[in-house]
Amino acid sequence: MTLPSPPMSLLAELTHRCPLACPYCSNPLELERKTAELDTADWRSVLEQAAELGVLQVHFSGGEPMARPDMVELVSVARRLNLYSNLITSGVLLDEPKLEALDRAGLDHIQLSFQDVTEAGAERIGGLRSAQARKIEAARLIRASGIPMTLNFVVHRENIARIPEMFTLARELGAGRVEIAHTQYYGWGLKNRDALLPSREQLEESTRAVEAERAKGDLSIDYVTPDYHADRPKPCMGGWGQRFVNVTPSGRVLPCHAAETIPDVAFPNVRDASLSEIWNCSPLFNMFRGTNWMPEPCRSCERKEKDWGGCRCQALALTGNAANADPVCSLSPFHDIVEGVATGLSEKPELLYRRF
């Protein structure tokens, strides 16, 4: 038996604790308490096992990873293991001494999130007063440290018109890269979908705005489109159990950060098994790996090794069965669900915040 190829990236979700309350948070609806979190020695072991298995880059995320007192130590462990370390942060807990310590520990890159370009827009999403000023200060400190920085903007109906200003801010702050990511509608995002999903016209306008910035050629740009107005699914996570491994605050090992919604399967934990056993042999990782699990129309589709059948968590959330074809695909028998949502946008419901 040949083993699956090893993962390239580890998403280390160190904690679910966060000072912000964004209604599209990628964390699950059931947030994990501080007392359930892995300790420093556990994470050290996870990083060692990940490097051994073939992981090249570790993305320290959360919640807010800077809420962990051992962040600097974990960066130095990653550096020693030759793992490329990326800190995915809101910036609101960063100050000069912490940043200097991260720099000395060998942090390779920072992804700094902004909720908007206006203070009112940012506070409406993040729910934290004066967060915008703290983020701008964090960006200045990062710029001064020389650590490469990507600014991340999650876009949705309320801020989508301000994409050009997002690029202006990125240039002012000296970011080398910008990520414009449409909200992904799982978990919190799905709960707030009807308040956040842009219209097709808004989506087209946002794509034009990003293309216009790309043409200027001075910034490296990542653009993540929303599924709902598409007719072919995205290759979610580059294929289930193919490139990407996620470890949650309490040590569960998942093929993607929404996978805890999948029913009737055990979630392996680094407290009970090694990362390599979990990656290679666990029922969860083998459940949708490759193409053998696929139903029609995926099974005979020429794109099956391009999009790997799209997103399992989306199939589950929208059709009730994770093994169904991703309803984003126009060939899926469930595509009318997505079309109905995308065209039926009318009134504006209240946002439900992720408070923790």
Partner: protein, 96 residues
Amino acid sequence: MTEAPHTVTEETVLSFARGYRLQHDRVRDLWIVQAPEKAFVIEGAAPHILRLLDGKRSVGDIIQQLALEFSAPREVIAKDVLALLSELTEKNVLHT
């Protein structure tokens, strides 16, 4: 006199920009360049060229060393080295 910022000549001394580094991936036995939020595989002559970048050697020194190591004509090596290093400088992976 102004010079285009991306012109790489034999006198240029280059190193990896912050956030980029060359690494041997021992699990897959590949050479890769680590970059912000991605890694790309490099093949053929590229790893041999890039491992000589130390911020001290000039491009000419690197060409000289590879010509000796591979017993190949200097002008052939020079063409490959200048093409690769110009491309990566253009992409801000390398800087002076």
